[in-house]
């Protein structure tokens, strides 16, 4: 492998990119515009609302007061579950993500606590572990309501508690959710369409045939193009973060998991673009095929809104889409700081990247039939 050849090809890619106003726009200005527009629209609409199911087995003044407290945050949409429902089967049947049970004797225990210092009542919090990031948010809201409840009742002594308490106490906004999604979406677009262009336009123009007769190897060429894709991915990421931080005050944590995800995402979608370019050889048709794959993925994989807003079958479908894991990985690594969840999603992205990139490299060919 010759570094000089890779460098020469990389420089050509950069020059060509800088001189194409259209490509520059779609790579840089488009994601910035999207984040500005979506950020402005959704900032005006207020925060994201999460659904929380509540089963009140006590049906007392105090339990109703607690539910009212949750409702008044404005960030949680309360759905009441009838007391006679079996919680476990209800969760299964209705595909419930989060459910709190206020136990029978809730009010009695609180009243008793004024005499008995050891009297406490725990709420049961049922969580779908796959919804880790939104669970963290809801958990923190519920936790803050309980704290304020305890403060009113006993000046801070823990009378009411829940079994699972998150350490996250930040109040997340839509832009916090949207910014990582925007990064994943932009990398996907850049890499898929970049690969499609190389494999269709270069083939049509005879550049691939020409390169086949020169000493440059496929490995050197693919490596230089991957370097260029990484360069574009990091530039886009930097610009999106810059706008998010400067305009919307997003707190972003840059760490190894986030960088790993960005690198793996670039490989993943470059491989996907190679596969599209391999099987759909006409340039225009390949662009359409790229759109047909990336456009629905953008909407279905939780880029712009939470999965739980979609019907259950679409939520299941979303979980086979690679962009979903990219979004979740970036959100957990950059915003929610949930390392364990970020690691799991990063591993999923790495696995997708290996499959798509290796398949892309192996199936793409320069030789004609």
């Amino acid at each position: 492998m010759r570094v000089q050849v890779i460098a020469a090809d990389f420089i050509v890619s950069i020059k060509t990119w800088l001189r194409s106003k259209g490509t520059l726009f779609w790579t840089l200005a488009f994601p910035i515009m999207l984040i500005l527009i979506f950020g402005a629209i959704f900032s005006g609409m207020g925060d994201v609302e999460y659904t929380l199911h509540v089963q009140d087995l006590d049906d007392s003044e105090m339990s109703r007061g607690f539910i009212e407290g949750l409702n008044s945050t404005g960030a949680i949409k309360i759905e009441i579950v009838e007391p006679e429902q079996n919680v476990s089967s209800y969760i299964d049947e209705k595909n419930i993500k989060r459910l709190i049970v206020i136990p029978k004797g809730y009010e009695e225990t609180i009243n008793k606590s004024f005499i008995d210092q050891n009297a406490i009542v725990n709420l049961s919090f049922y969580l779908d572990p796959s919804e880790q990031s939104s669970n963290q948010v809801v958990m923190s809201i519920v936790s803050s309501v309980i704290q304020s409840f305890n403060m009113k009742l006993s000046n801070g002594r823990n009378i009411v508690g829940i079994d699972e308490i998150s350490t996250i106490t930040e109040d997340f906004r839509f832009i916090d959710f949207f910014l990582p999604g925007m990064i994943g979406f932009t990398i996907m677009q850049t890499c898929v369409y970049g690969s499609i262009e190389r494999n269709t336009k270069f083939r049509k123009d005879g550049i691939l045939r020409k390169l086949l007769t020169t000493p440059i190897t496929r490995t050197e060429w693919i490596l230089s193009k991957m370097l260029f894709m990484l360069f574009l991915s990091f530039i886009s990421t930097f610009l999106i973060i810059l706008v998010g931080v400067l305009i919307y005050g997003v707190t972003v944590n840059i760490n190894a998991l986030m960088i790993t995800t960005i690198i793996a995402t670039s490989f993943l979608f470059s491989g996907m673009g190679m596969l599209i370019g391999r099987f759909v050889k006409e340039e225009e048709t390949a662009d359409t095929a790229g759109g047909a794959i990336t456009f629905p993925m953008m909407f279905l994989a939780g880029t712009f809104f939470q999965l739980e807003m979609m019907p259950p079958f679409l939520q299941t479908f979303a979980r086979v889409l690679p962009l979903y894991y990219v979004n979740e990985s970036l959100r957990n690594a950059m915003i929610y700081m949930n390392q364990s969840e970020a690691i799991l999603n990063t591993i999923a992205v790495l696995a997708f990247a290996c499959v798509f990139f290796i398949a892309g490299v192996l199936l793409t060919k320069w030789k004609e039939d």
């Binding site: 005879g206 550049i207 020409k210 007769t213 020169t214 000493p215």
Partner: protein, 353 residues
């Protein structure tokens, strides 16, 4: 030309001498001035060949695109592979360039089988693929520099720009060039590694006559530099103007091969004197009586075969003497179009449509 090294028996230093194969030469040691005589090695079979193709075949399912063709190209000559679209020209040249995989057959470039040694010969060949378009947003010079960096052996880019007459547009973006200039840049790209063999696949297709002639000049100059040129074309005049050796391919098979003169002598009518709009009855019979080979053509003109150089004057004096009236005369040599017609029963230009 061949070069051979020798070790001087007097001073022991190594020097070299050159000449034709088998030539006996007086040689001098450049270090000590000693004099001696030596013979350059005899030419072995195949040493003078740049390209050797044997029983080359390409099938696409039931379709046979190239049907067991064999030919060779000598070093330093311009070889034209002439045929209509779909005859198998590009398929053949792309198999020689290792862009396509042959179904069967052997291809050797500079004596090396490309099946096993293509990576070795890449440095010795330059290729202009059919309908090639380079990077739109690079200048002409940047394009040449990029392609030259892919090779270890590199020609001087400024020299190529000068030779291809591209100096005035070297800073222009490729996308802004005319079709003729793009083709010249394509030829220039094929030369960045100073190759021994240059493959040009239909380098003038789609160009206007002026641009076509400009590209021809560039190709003719390659011969002067000692390059072997493999040119595919469907333009007869291009092959006639440029080629030292011509192979005509039709429906995947080579139907004729040789120099232009050889092809004309073998398959053409030679040179003809045409007497146009002859209005005198019995003119052909009268000429035949005088020993000329004369015939009526389909349009009524009379064609007289030119067998010796003074025949034109003899025919003209005979026409005057016999008071044969006519409108005009012209002298025309057989061309490749006639040869193609003779060999296939259709015109090359008709096959195109």
């Amino acid at each position: 030309m061949v070069e051979k090294k020798f070790k001087c028996p007097d001073c022991g230093k190594v020097a070299s001498y050159s000449g034709m194969h088998g030539e006996l030469k007086t040689i001098y040691c450049p270090y000590c001035g000693s004099k001696g005589r030596a013979r350059l090695p005899e030419l072995k079979h195949g040493d003078d060949l740049a390209i050797e193709v044997s029983d080359l075949r390409k099938e696409y399912g039931d379709l046979v695109a190239v049907n067991n063709i064999s030919f060779s190209v000598k070093k330093g000559e311009i070889f034209a592979f002439l045929g209509p679209n779909g005859a198998g020209k590009t398929t053949t040249v792309e198999m020689i360039e290792s862009i396509r995989q042959p179904t069967a057959g052997t291809i050797k470039l500079i004596g090396k089988n490309i099946k096993t040694h293509f990576n070795e010969v890449k440095k010795d060949i330059g290729v202009l693929p059919q309908e090639f378009l380079s990077f739109e947003r690079l200048t002409v010079k940047e394009t040449l520099v990029y392609f030259s960096k892919l090779y270890k052996k590199r020609a001087d880019i400024d020299e190529i720009i000068e030779a291809m007459d591209l100096k005035s547009c070297e800073k222009m973006l490729y996308r802004n060039l005319s079709g003729g200039l793009k083709q010249r840049v394509g030829v220039a790209i094929a030369l960045v590694n100073d190759p021994d063999i240059v493959f040009l696949d239909e380098p003038t297709t789609g160009l206007d006559p002026k641009a076509r002639r400009d590209v021809w000049k560039v190709i003719a100059n390659l011969r002067k530099k000692g390059k072997t040129v493999f040119l595919t074309t469907h333009y007869m005049e291009e092959a006639e103007y440029l080629a030292d050796h011509i192979a005509i391919i039709h429906k995947g098979k080579i139907i004729a091969e040789g120099t232009l003169d050889e092809l004309i002598n073998r398959y053409g009518k030679g040179s003809l004197l045409r007497i146009k709009q002859c209005k005198t009855e019995g003119a052909v019979e009268s000429l035949k009586e005088k020993g000329f080979t004369a015939t009526y053509e389909s349009n009524g003109d009379i064609a007289v075969k030119i067998d010796y150089k003074d025949i034109v004057l003899d025919v003209l004096s005979n026409l005057r003497h016999e008071c044969i009236e006519y409108e005009s005369i012209d002298v025309r040599r057989s061309n490749l179009e006639e040869i193609f017609l003779h060999l296939t029963g259709s015109k090359l230009s008709e096959e195109e449509t």
